[in-house]
């Protein structure tokens, strides 16, 4: 089960993920990101501080946006991951493809530098 909260800060859309993302809840994540993009945000911050688990399907969602965001110049930064979640990202090599910050401050900094 995943609970997704969205709020806007300094022109960036902050999407907070609370809970676990598995095959079925990954659809909600996909919808949330698609909605944010649809609303015209070019800076998207993903708050993973309350994310307990992410399955390969959830990782697939992030992965599927990489190229599209590059083409449309949309910046997405993830932040606040627990070690376990961060490990999942790094094993797959996603940490090299995604921008990952330590906390929100750093994430904002990364987003503005990109």
């Amino acid at each position: 089960m995943i609970h997704i909260k969205r709020l806007q800060e300094d022109g960036a859309d902050v999407i907070a993920l609370v809970g676990e993302i598995d095959a079925s809840s990954s659809i909600e994540l996909d919808l949330a990101i698609a909605k944010s993009v649809g609303e015209g945000f070019s800076k998207i911050l993903i708050d993973c501080s309350a994310l307990e688990y992410i399955s390969s399907a959830g990782l697939g969602v992030f992965m599927s946006y990489i190229e599209e965001f590059k083409d449309r110049n949309i910046k997405m930064v993830l932040f606040g991951m627990s070690d376990k979640v961060a490990n999942t990202f790094s094993i797959l090599g996603l940490n090299e493809l995604l921008h990952i910050g330590k906390d929100k401050v750093q994430a904002k900094q990364i987003v503005n530098e990109l």
Binding site: S56, G60, M63, E67, L92, G93
Partner: protein, 691 residues
């Protein structure tokens, strides 16, 4: 068979008792008129008459009441036929009587008296037979729809009548008041019973006409029979009173009143019911139609036939001149089923109503049926003057609109609105059920597919692994109920080179099995060519880019073991890090290196994200490969098995063969999770190097 024999017996008894009645009655009459004391006791004919009545009573009881197949018109027909036969015989006797020359009134010739009595007795027998027939038939009609109260009243009537036979058998001193009281009780009860006419409602128009005719003739026969017996007995009374006179017989009199009254009542009720018959038939048809809609779910193959039945039944139930059914398959697509109206006409009406911005069922928000007739008046060139529209709901969603049209103004009444609204509700339920069933079927199909996918997946894994004098290898794979995409394989490149792969396809089900088979194809074609592990990954990525859909990827690690140089070169593409045990240093470590999973970078730059690594193996070293199902296996508290536990376990494996080590690992895993139903796939592959 037995009841058939009994009816025959009863009939014979009836005939015999009647004959006995004739003999005794004539002999008494003859004796008394001749002034001789009769040899036969005068009370005997009364008893015989009652025996005759009893035998007929049970004869008809068996013949009519036990016959299940008789319908109402059949019953009326039987009564009519009995009446016809008795009337024909009676008329025949009259003719014979006439031919013989009617004797002078008051003639006391012995022959005449005997002859008159004979004719009277024949007529009496026929009348009683006719009455008994009528009684049995009316009993069935009255008791067609029983109630406790009715059954009790009937039992009282029947038992009372039978007891009255006893009263008549023994010639109690004739007490006028008792006689009249008994008779009037039976007449009143008979009248009350005659009020039960429910069967009439079940006749259709044609049957009603037939019944009217049959009843009319039956009434005629009854009166003729009464008249004949009356006149005949009158003739005899003039000569002597010592004969079997039915005028004092309560049973016969009660029956005469009851059968006649019920016949007349039935006739009148049917007559007055004639004009409303069509309404009853209509109601009946509605019930049948209703059933058709409900049953259509079991028998019909598609939603379309449910729609068509709804259209047909609604039209026929309210006598609509035309109708259409508009189904919104989705927001933009409207499908229109029409009945006696062209698509264009219906479109015109819809557009007209929309154009005038009429808030009705045509907008999706409406919940109630609407009579839109008044808005139709403004549409020129349309032949329709009344329109009634109904929304159809499935699971609370408005899926369409049913519109009924009439050429008459004000053509729909409240009753019709109710009926069709019930129909459309039922149709909604039918469609909902239909969809649920489709879903269930889909699910079943999906399960079947999974079964096949699981079989395919199993068949993709190798049964035999490459063995070498330098190392032993064992592998194990188990998948959850849903098919996963774990894959491992080995391939010998030449006498000193062996390649090994372990991979995990993201996603589950048939697509995972499909991607797994692609991975197998890629492995077998690329590994043959003896290319560097990182090249292998780059080329595999290139090949997979075209077949992996959005969001899908494959993690893999590819090894080439060189037994000549004792070196292993490998590349890790997003797969779980290799767990390695160095026997000489008694040290366990995960190889932390970089590599992005296959399919994540879908352009040439992938080569930047993958690297080739190399290490040297020594005898006793153990290399453990696995998929994330192992590290993510959870215990009862939801805690994961994790990398530390896995690494810690390696010490136990030092002195085991790969096969034994594998058994140990799996045992530990089950022990940890507390169940053998781990809801993920997990695969292990253990390579142990020999000295």
């Amino acid at each position: 068979m037995r009841s058939k024999a009994i009816t025959r017996l009863l009939f014979t008894v009836g005939v015999i008792t009647w004959l006995a009645l004739v003999f005794t009655d004539i002999s008494i009459l003859f004796s008394t008129t001749s002034g001789i004391k009769p040899e036969v006791p005068v009370w005997l004919p009364g008893i015989i008459l009652n025996l005759f009545i009893l035998s007929l009573f049970y004869y008809y009881k068996l013949k009519i009441e036990r016959d299940e197949v008789l319908n109402f018109v059949d019953l009326l027909w039987r009564v009519f036929a009995t009446g016809l036969i008795s009337t024909v015989i009676s008329l025949g006797l009259r003719v014979i009587d006439h031919l013989l020359g009617s004797p002078d009134i008051g003639s006391r010739s012995a022959f005449n008296i005997v002859f008159n009595d004979l004719i009277y007795l024949i007529n009496l027998g026929l009348m009683i037979g006719f009455l008994m027939m009528g009684y049995s038939a009316w009993k069935r009609l009255i008791l067609y729809q029983k109630s406790k109260w009715l059954l009790r009243l009937w039992a009282f009537f029947e038992v009372g009548l039978l007891i009255s036979l006893l009263y008549n058998t023994f010639r109690f001193p004739q007490v006028q008041w008792l006689h009249v009281t008994l008779l009037s009780i039976f007449v009143v009860v008979g009248l009350v019973l005659s009020g039960n006419m429910k069967w009439v409602a079940f006749l259709n128009f044609r049957q009603k006409w037939t019944s009217l005719l049959l009843l009319l003739l039956t009434i005629f026969y009854l009166f003729y029979s009464f008249f004949t017996n009356q006149s005949l007995s009158d003739n005899i009374v003039k000569v002597s009173e010592n004969f079997t006179d039915y005028h004092r017989h309560i049973f016969v009199l009660s029956l005469m009143v009851f059968v006649t009254v019920y016949s007349i009542f039935s006739f009148l009720v049917i007559l007055f019911n004639l004009p409303t018959t069509s309404v009853f038939e209509q109601k009946l048809e509605e019930v049948v139609n209703f059933q058709r809609i409900s049953q259509s779910i079991q028998t019909e193959q598609s939603e379309e036939s449910v729609y068509n039945i709804l259209l047909e039944t609604s039209v026929s139930s309210v006598f609509a001149d035309a109708a259409w059914l508009e189904i919104n398959s989705n927001a933009h697509e409207h499908k229109v089923f029409t009945y006696k109206i062209t698509d264009k006409e219906s479109r015109d009406i819809i557009n007209h109503l929309n154009a005038h911005n009429i808030k009705g069922v045509f907008d999706q928000g409406s919940e109630k049926t609407k009579n839109l007739s008044k808005h139709l008046a403004t549409l020129k060139g349309s032949r329709f003057r009344s329109i009634l529209a109904f929304p159809i709901y499935v699971k609370g969603d408005n899926i369409g609109t049913l519109a009924l049209l009439k050429e008459l103004p004000e053509g729909f009444n409240k009753e019709m609105t109710k009926i069709v609204s019930t129909f459309s509700n039922q149709a909604g339920i039918s469609i909902e059920n239909f969809r649920l069933m489709e879903e269930a079927l889909q699910n079943e199909r999906y399960k079947e597919e999974l079964k096949i996918a699981k079989m395919v997946q199993k068949s993709l894994l190798p049964t035999l692994l490459e063995q070498d004098h330098d190392f032993d290898v064992a592998a194990f794979s188990e998948s959850a109920d849903e098919v996963g995409g774990d894959y491992y394989d080995t391939l010998r490149i030449n006498d000193h080179l062996v390649s090994i792969i372990i991979a995990d396809v993201s996603g589950k089900g048939t697509t995972a099995a499909f991607h797994m088979s692609q991975m197998k194809g890629i492995f077998h074609s690329l590994a043959q060519r003896d290319i560097e592990p990182d090249d292998f990954m780059v080329q595999a990525n290139q090949a997979l880019v075209y077949c992996l859909e959005r969001g899908s990827f494959i993690s893999a690690t590819y090894f080439i073991i060189n037994t000549q140089t004792k070196k292993i070169r490998y590349a890790r593409a997003g797969h779980c890090p290799v767990l390695y045990y160095h026997a000489d240093r008694e040290l366990t470590e995960y190889f932390k290196d970089k590599g992005v999973a296959l399919g994540m970078v879908r352009n040439k730059s992938y080569s930047n994200f993958i690297q080739a690594n190399e290490f040297t193996y020594k005898p006793g070293d153990i290399m453990i490969l696995y998929t994330d199902g192992v590290t993510e296996a959870k215990d009862a508290k939801g805690e994961e098995f994790g990398y530390e536990r896995l690494a810690a376990m390696v010490c136990d494996l030092r002195d085991l063969t790969p096969a034994q080590a594998q058994d140990h690992m799996i045992h530990k895993l089950y022990e940890f999770s507390g169940t053998e139903n781990i809801d993920d796939d997990y695969t292990t592959m253990i390579v142990k190097f020999k000295s």
